[in-house]
């Protein structure tokens, strides 16, 4: 046994540890072939890519020494999406009918549809969560989710109105309430999760940030109207920078603190989750993302410049070339433009996935552990089965839900 073997044994997760062994490079190695395969499959490969991605995340996340398993299949996603598209056929009809109405009706109609879709997004989110949980296996047992997706959608909808009406003050209540509803309806095998927190779990970090912004606003208000001309002009000049900086820092702070506090209030039997995500690791992911994005954009810029100069040369040798002909580029130029567009979209997606999404998952896993994990050994199998496919497809169509 070598020293590195010894180290590995010592580092191997001990009781209650959560571990994520995936890396951005491995994820990129999985995503890039997927993006390429989307071209011959007219985009349909995305369902397989998402499935592989989930298998990657699940299988490389181990809890108390045993990894998760994602048991869903790509065909389920494909059929779920096809079902969801059926819903959009009448909506397309509605758009068509609306476009023949007068201007005010169009605005009212679009607003109505937007509100309807927002409501539906809540339903889809809950069903999609159920889809994923019932397809997650740990130690031979699957997770389950009860509760009613319409109930969840209604809560989310009316809480959202309240949050708007109270200028955001109701947000901690909404977040905690929805979190509680979802997790108090979640099972591992036959054992139920329980959320032991309250609105304060979200409220403590949230109101700190809220108070900070209120204080800043008041200060600038005073500076603008009460103090001398020079001071107020300096204040007004710095206000946008300060507010932007404040928003940036506080968004990382909230993104780290709120989930950490919420998940740390989860309990299942005697086992208890504890999560401490650090804001600075999230900032680091975004900095990395920005650097890579810059590199990628420079690369794209060079390719485009080469293409344009080549195109210019071929046009220069072509007498009758004018804007009209340029506007009527042939099939291959359009194909090239589409490919270029897709490549840029894929690059954005790739970087966002490997740096931001994976980084977040990594940060959560690294700083999470389960206390009294041995209690989980007494869980027995529940009687739940995999949930129907429709919810996930709807969430997919509405672009809600991550991972």
């Amino acid at each position: 046994m070598t020293i590195s073997d010894l180290n590995m044994t010592q580092e191997s997760p001990q009781s209650g540890e959560v571990n994520f062994s995936g890396s951005g490079w491995k994820m990129a190695g999985l995503l890039i072939p997927g993006y390429l395969l989307m071209i011959p499959t007219l985009g349909l490969y995305r369902f397989w890519q998402v499935t592989q991605k989930r298998q990657f995340y699940w299988s490389r996340t181990s809890i108390d020494g045993d990894s998760l398993e994602y048991t869903g299949s790509a065909t389920q996603l494909l059929f779920g999406f096809m079902l969801a598209i059926l819903l959009f056929v009448p909506i397309a009809g509605l758009y068509l009918w609306l476009s023949t109405q007068d201007q005010n009706s169009i605005i009212a109609g679009y607003a109505f549809i937007a509100v309807g879709l927002y409501f539906l997004a809540g339903y889809a989110e809950y069903r999609a969560r159920r889809f994923r949980f019932t397809r997650t296996l740990w130690r031979g047992l699957r997770f389950a989710q009860t509760g009613n997706a319409w109930n969840f959608a209604l809560r989310r909808f009316f809480w959202s109105i309240l949050v708007l009406g109270t200028a955001g003050l109701a947000y901690p209540f909404m977040r905690a309430n929805l979190f509680k509803y979802a997790w108090n309806n979640t099972y591992f095998g036959d054992r139920k999760f329980e959320f032991t927190g309250s609105w304060k779990t979200v409220g403590v970090p949230f109101f700190k940030v809220y108070a900070f912004f209120v204080a800043i606003s008041i200060l600038f208000f005073i500076a603008a109207f009460q103090v001398s001309q020079t001071v107020s002009s300096i204040g007004i000049a710095f206000a946008p920078i300060m507010i932007l900086l404040g928003f940036l820092v506080s968004s990382f702070y909230l993104r780290a603190r709120i989930p950490s506090r919420l998940y740390s209030e989860l309990q299942i039997g005697d086992a208890r989750l504890s999560v401490r995500v650090k804001a600075r690791s999230l900032i680091w992911h975004v900095v990395l993302y920005a650097i890579w994005l810059l590199i990628a954009l420079i690369g794209v810029g060079i390719v485009v410049a080469i293409f344009l100069s080549a195109a210019q040369q071929s046009f220069a040798s072509f007498e009758a070339a004018n804007l009209a002909q340029f506007g009527q580029l042939g099939g291959w130029q359009i194909a090239l433009a589409i490919l270029g567009y897709l490549a840029v979209i894929a690059t954005f997606g790739l970087l966002a996935e490997t740096l931001i999404a994976l980084g977040y998952w990594q940060a959560v896993a690294r700083d999470a552990r389960i206390e009294n994990a041995q209690d989980l050994r007494t869980v027995r199998g529940g009687d739940g089965d995999e949930s129907p496919i429709a919810g996930e497809g709807l969430a997919d169509a509405l672009n809600v839900g991550a991972y």
Binding site: W48, S59, G65, S67, Y70, A74, F88, Y95, D102, G140
Partner: protein, 379 residues
């Protein structure tokens, strides 16, 4: 051959540290799973029923068709994985079958989607026509009135577009009306067409659903002969009679749905969805242009003026880069050689053709937007 594995029976969450050994008690072979801690066999799986889950390199997960659905053996050491795959060669066949099935599904789905796209691109113009023919003309006219308000607000900078000649009994307006009625009559259509010559710096002419046709003053300035003017007008009336505006409306909402499906964004708000839909719709509008050209040609033969004038105007517009840029961006008229050739090819030169408007009428039309009149020399 003893292989180390984690065993889960699918019934309780208790992990079992196990060794797997091959047992030849039955013909097809069994996997004997032994609990290391308790030193006794906890399960035996017939090799033929062993299934592989999760195709990852760093761990091999297998289950058994006859065991609980969640029952798993998880092998993580590379050497153990190799040994296991050697002991259970059926897994390779199983994996091949699984991959083959996935490939088949992707192939079938892609083929189906290709068929849908092809059926869409070739079928929607027909389908849209069917839908539009079910819409009563009165409904289109009512809709057209709302579109007119919207378009005039958008193009006229908030207010309605300014008519060049507000007197509906003027020589120019009467001549235009007479010509429009002649064109409509020969086509047998009862569509109420209104032609407005309006002030605009954009060289353009277009038709809206419901029968409103616009001819912009900048295009009128570029128009050199009464027959050019007549050809463009007949072309636009062709759009009205064929109800292209409504067809476009129907087909573009279908396009949105299709592109949404391909891109997986049903809200249709991404740049890709918008550009993709525009690309497909361009095809439909090109078909519509050719149809309107054919209508214009038919009108010229029936009324007996020179339809070769339209290609002349197209050529002149095509030669003028600046005008062309604005034209190409704003109009629904994609200029192309194919279209020009087709027009020139179809024109039968008859000896007895007369201009569509008399010299006095044409002078009145040409000057209705305030331009001076310099009669151009005809070939």
């Amino acid at each position: 051959m003893d292989i180390q594995a984690r065993y889960f029976d699918g019934d309780s969450a208790l992990p079992v540290q196990a060794t797997i050994s091959l047992d030849n008690r039955s013909h097809s072979g069994l996997l004997a799973i032994t609990d290391v801690g308790r030193g006794r066999e906890v399960a035996h799986w017939p090799i033929a029923q062993v299934q592989q889950f999760s195709f990852q390199k760093h761990e091999l997960r297998v289950g058994c068709e006859t065991a609980k659905p969640g029952a798993r053996l998880v092998i993580t050491e590379q050497e153990d994985i190799r040994n296991f795959l050697n002991a259970v060669p059926e897994l390779n066949a199983h994996r091949r079958r699984h991959n083959g099935k996935q490939f088949q599904t992707i192939a079938v789905a892609t083929a189906a989607l290709s068929c849908v796209i092809a059926a869409y691109i070739f079928g929607v113009p027909l389908f849209a026509r069917q839908i539009v023919s079910a819409i009563p003309i009165e409904a289109e006219v009512a809709f057209g009135k709302r579109v007119v308000t919207q378009v005039e607000n958008a193009l006229g900078g908030g207010g309605p577009l300014q008519d060049c000649d507000t007197n509906s009994r003027s020589v120019a307006n009467l001549a235009i009306e007479r010509f429009s009625q002649d064109v409509l009559e020969q086509s047998g259509s009862s569509f109420p067409v209104t032609v407005s010559v309006v002030q605009s710096e954009i060289p353009n002419a277009f038709a809206l659903p419901g029968g409103q046709v616009y001819y912009f003053s900048a295009l009128l300035e570029l128009t050199n002969s009464p027959d050019e003017f007549a050809s463009v007008l007949a072309h636009e009336i062709g759009h009205v009679v064929n109800r292209h505006g409504m067809e476009q409306l129907v087909s573009s909402s279908g396009t949105g749905l299709l592109v949404s499906f391909i891109l997986g964004d049903a809200t249709g708000l991404s740049a890709g969805a918008i550009v993709g839909a525009a690309l497909i719709d361009t095809r439909f509008s090109r078909d519509a242009e050719l149809e309107a050209d054919a209508f214009s040609l038919l009108a010229s033969q029936s009324i007996n003026y020179d339809a070769a004038a339209l290609p002349n105007l197209l050529d002149r517009l095509g030669g003028d880069d600046e005008a062309m840029a604005a034209f190409a961006l704003l109009s629904t008229h994609p200029m192309n050689d194919e279209r020009r050739e087709r027009l020139q090819h179809d024109i039968e030169h008859s000896a007895s053709i007369l201009p569509a408007f008399s010299q006095d009428e044409w002078r009145a039309i040409k000057t209705m937007c305030g331009a001076s009149f310099a009669p151009s020399k005809q070939k």
